[in-house]
């Protein structure tokens, strides 16, 4: 697959291009070139990178329009040294990114189901058993409560809507698995 075809026409500019193909990656320039996606066996893998959430959402929308099979992965994989337990890391990164408000509201806006994509990827890699443990770890992290004793108030790191959505997320994952 030609990587140049993954860059939409309206992202190309003649002067000072921000989207380029460099080596095996499509990259976006923000201070430095940040890898956005790569292909393997005609499947596109997008780095779910919170440094450039708008660009990730834009390219996801473009790939949906093209009708190409794609999955997400962790930006750690762009490092040539790689990672040891990549299945665990990618599932954790999927769930953690789902809780980031940029991706949570961004994917909702383009009507894309990140969890469905994750379930599809776990089925492809035969690692659905790892989802539950990772879900429990991330769920605990998201519902962490901080208490301000001076003002007698409680606050959380994540929005209320995201926390409420995460409570029933495992049920959604199981429904996606059955369907």
């Amino acid at each position: 697959m030609d990587l140049n075809s993954l860059i939409p026409d309206n992202f190309r500019s003649l002067h000072n291009p921000t989207w380029i193909v460099k080596g095996q990656f499509v990259m976006f320039k923000k201070y430095e070139h940040i890898p956005v996606c790569f292909t393997e066996d005609d499947i596109v893998y997008i780095f779910l990178d919170n440094k450039i959430p708008k660009q990730i959402i834009k390219i996801t929308k473009h790939l949906i329009n093209l009708g190409i099979e794609f999955y997400f992965t962790t930006p750690e994989l762009s490092n040539p040294k790689g990672i040891d337990d990549f299945e665990d890391t990618i599932i954790r990164h999927y769930l953690l990114s789902y809780a980031q408000k940029e991706f949570f509201y961004g994917f909702k806006k383009i009507e894309f189901d990140l969890i469905h994509n994750m379930v599809k990827w776990t089925e492809k890699e035969n690692c659905f058993d790892l989802v539950k443990n990772n879900y429990e770890v991330i769920n605990k992290k998201i519902n962490t409560k901080h208490i301000d004793y001076y003002n007698n108030t409680e606050f959380y790191d994540f929005d209320k809507e995201i926390r409420e959505d995460f409570q029933s997320l495992y049920r959604d994952i199981q429904i996606n698995k059955i369907l």
Binding site: Y31, E32, K51, I52, P75, S97
Partner: protein, 106 residues
Amino acid sequence: MRDRAWRRYVEERIVIRRLKAQCDHYWSWRGFEDINKISHQHPRIKDYIGTENNFRFKTHTTTKWDTYHKVKYSPNKGKGYWRDGVKTREKDRKLFFKILKENGLK
């Protein structure tokens, strides 16, 4: 010549310089945690994108030695010296809001 694109270019250049100065001296056995919660023992400039450091360096962007720590939109706030009598964007902005208020638009 010195339009929005030029200002953005200068701001970007200064932010890169500041981030570079920081990552040249950074080392920690725990590592620096970037926006994706990935730890880097020797962070590079791109690892700082989206973090508190990046936003702070972007906000405090002036090139004058005496306004180095001041905020972006009022670099010479309260300083009446060589900029007195000079037509500046800050003054234009103030005048614009004054006219809006006078006409009941703000």
